[in-house]
């Protein structure tokens, strides 16, 4: 499975266009992480726990998108985009979407 945010896969030709696929996940910060981040808030800087949390979520969203692409018979996803939204206090939705295609 090839993932790219370009409109084509360099060096290959798109032979079939299979439509939009997407994957998303909603995660909340767990209490331990939130506590450390709360302490960190006085001194600022990178909140490593949240960086990791969102990276894990994004990997999961990509996995779900890839699973959808596979289900419709694609072997690549082009024009991939990400979006994150804060849906409730302490919870974030991470989403990945793109166009599933068959390349040769």
């Amino acid at each position: 499975m090839e993932l790219t945010n370009l409109e084509t896969v360099p060096g290959k030709t798109i032979v079939r266009h299979l439509g939009l696929v997407q994957g998303s996940t909603v995660r909340s910060k767990h209490a331990g992480r939130d506590l450390m981040a709360g302490l960190k808030n006085f001194v600022g800087g990178e909140l490593k726990a949240y960086t990791d949390l969102l990276n894990e979520s994004r990997a999961e969203a990509i996995n779900r998108m890839v699973a959808q692409a596979r289900a419709v018979g694609g072997n690549a996803v082009v024009n991939v985009r990400f979006s994150t939204s804060n849906i409730a206090a302490g919870a974030a939705e991470v989403m990945a979407y793109g166009t599933a295609v068959e390349v040769r």
């Binding site: 090839e2 060096g11 949240y50």
Partner: protein
């Protein structure tokens, strides 16, 4: 007496935020400058398609992300500043740090793939504070940079 104690506590937090937060920021900026210099040979473009006529071996999605939070002093200073309006310089440096860190991490990911170019780079920023209306929430934001890393044939 109680009031004095509370004021003292706030002053203590401000001092901690100002000293540790300031030192962290300066350290981060100098580390960024060094890492950016090391990664200078990886070219980053926000063009949507790579130039015709160059053959590429493979394309992979690469990304870099970071969550950065404000310190107590910045929050206090920004609160004062936004009363009068104008440029919030304490937040500008925060956004700058976050975005540069995301680019550096994306470039590091590209280097691990053996790539020398990243095309169609996009940025995204989202606020992770509890609520927009929640004054007690401390501002933190996630910065991501992503693009397609290409390895020349």
């Amino acid at each position: 007496m109680e009031l004095l104690l509370q004021l003292g506590f706030v002053a203590f937090l401000l001092l901690i935020g100002w000293s540790i937060g300031g030192a962290t920021e300066r350290r981060h900026f100098s580390a960024l400058a060094k890492r950016e210099a090391e990664l200078r040979d990886i070219l980053v473009f926000n063009e949507r398609r790579p130039p015709e006529g160059i053959a590429f071996r493979n394309a992979t999605l690469v990304m870099g992300s970071v969550v950065i939070g404000e310190d107590y002093f910045k929050r206090f200073a920004a609160g004062l500043r936004s009363f009068f309006g104008g440029t919030l310089r304490m937040y500008e440096s925060l956004m700058d740090r976050g975005r540069r860190e995301a680019i550096v991490r994306m470039k590091e990911a590209a280097r691990r793939q053996g790539a020398t170019m990243v095309f169609n780079v996009r940025f995204e920023t989202s606020s992770l504070s509890a609520d927009a209306g929640d004054r007690s929430g401390v501002f933190s934001a996630e910065f991501i940079a992503y693009g397609t890393a290409l390895v020349r044939r």
